[in-house]
Subunit: 372 residues, 2 copies
Amino acid sequence: MNAVTFQLKKVCKDTKARRGQLKTPHATIETPVFMPVGTAATVKAMRPEDVKELGASIILSNTYHLYLRPGHEIVREAGGLHKFMNWDRAILTDSGGFQVFSLGDLRKITEEGVTFRSHIDGSTHMFTPEKSMEVQNALGSDIIMAFDECAPYPADRAYVKQSLERTTRWLARCKEAHKNTEKQSLFGIMQGGMYPDLRRQSAEEIVEMDLPGYAVGGLSVGEPKEVMYEVLDQCVDYLPKDKARYLMGVGSPDCLFEGVERGIDMFDCVLPTRIARNGMALTSHGRVTIKNARYERDFSALDAECGCYTCRNYSRAYLRHLFKGNEILSSMLLTNHNLYFLVHLMENIRKAIEEDRFLEYKKEFYSKYGKF
Amino acid sequence: MNAVTFQLKKVCKDTKARRGQLKTPHATIETPVFMPVGTAATVKAMRPEDVKELGASIILSNTYHLYLRPGHEIVREAGGLHKFMNWDRAILTDSGGFQVFSLGDLRKITEEGVTFRSHIDGSTHMFTPEKSMEVQNALGSDIIMAFDECAPYPADRAYVKQSLERTTRWLARCKEAHKNTEKQSLFGIMQGGMYPDLRRQSAEEIVEMDLPGYAVGGLSVGEPKEVMYEVLDQCVDYLPKDKARYLMGVGSPDCLFEGVERGIDMFDCVLPTRIARNGMALTSHGRVTIKNARYERDFSALDAECGCYTCRNYSRAYLRHLFKGNEILSSMLLTNHNLYFLVHLMENIRKAIEEDRFLEYKKEFYSKYGKF
């Protein structure tokens, strides 16, 4: 019995969009779902209660960051990540792979794993599949991700092929090393770059390991959105229908719709929290850059159709004032709004799938939102 | 009838400490009271609901800052400061005087008022008693402060005397210019530096104007604490017993005790919010510098005797982790704690006065808190 189980409830009549349910030791998660990112054991500028109140049932946290600071042993001694950060719903941790590969010249890949230097103090470390499992077991997240290589874009076919094959070997080592199977479940990650046959090869290899969920990795790494959609069109079907499917690092409203339409169940992205701190809001009528002079005397809500705490209590003029003054409350209120916006967008998408009007809802949303 | 009234309930049997009640259009405030500072229409890193939840009934906001940004006319158009910032309890605004005098070379004083240059964009402005009233009337705060000159420390007697006399003339102009007497009440400010006879002269002149409250200004401007206490010993009695007495810019735990003991009813200070953002907490056992290595594996609460949200839900190890990572949640949680600590300290002080054991409580607090 896996700690995490997925149940498919319904498939949209017109598209591959799916309604499902993911059960973890800490939450029952309705899918498709958007997972807010809490990189360093905090969803930036938010109290955990507020993340719950806006409807999030699962968040993502980053293994690389927590390994370096405060250190996974400290989190283990604290009683695990849930207790350390005061979050009692589900947590998914990534493997640290993506972050160490992003370090560029600061890392070196071998069959054993990846040697890298800390972005904090320059110290040298090594991540292996076994180490990633050890760290994620210490964190105690509900869903732990396999240690994989996310090949860059563009990358030549020969490189992508040898990389995905190593990722498969690493997955086998992860499965072997994962010690806390009663409370945590391991998800595999499909690679293969933009090559359909390599995506198929990767999928076939990892699906054989019979895990409760699989991620589509190696997308949203700089390729045009059309390319990402095309790869999804081809490769999502390689994954089993009865397992959860997770598209990593994706979270703009259009990508959420396009991902759901292609059969994805889970998403995460720093976009809503990061742009909030830069004074940008996602609204039903498109993005709002709050510092614009036009909002100086705009006493209406950020989004008249939104029911979030920020929109219920504050005006655009006030939000602009806070942002211009570099006030912390600006980040707090805009983050709250942006997360609420995406979490409720997913709620609406789920409802639309249930009522067999996903494409209709998508069209309605796009017509108001304008260009992306 | 004044918009704001003060009622003295009880005087401590051993000291001048007083229990009173201040009624404003937005709140009934039990005194002695500590007022959190919300400089730019936000108590930094706090949602207004959280400021309320920790027990604050009145906050202070700064006229100088709001005049420059977003501009008082915008706040007026928003429906006043309470509505603009989503705070429905009482607000006291200062006059802008202290801030413009702090600008040093950027300001010039005449009988008419003060010409100064904005710290934001260098533009030239003039504050007069009439202008300060106009701005504060636009903000709509419950208690508005007279436009005064806060003489520096040290300052020679001749300067302090002519300055306090001008402050009296400015107070008369403020009283004349204040337009919204039904919803806002004007408090006068006693000056006179460290000279007892000048303090007496200032008090006699301003008390004649029969205002519902008076502040002791010109203290906490760099003088040793003993000097401040000595001046308070002498000058608080010059103020009428049946009016509220406010010591401006004071808020460390020891100064709160010493001020209350000398008959002060109201206090404000940026200390708890500012040091919170710098990683420092006020606790019943003294100040805690959260980044200290000794807290790395300290999974106990910041203050075991504190019932605040932060102490109920987070460990020192987690707070240290957040601070070291420069996370916004660090400022949020430490600010919440520090404000709760001072607001509840005042609650305990009020209770002690009621039960005629103020000195006993002070001794008990000091013995645990350690050196200041």
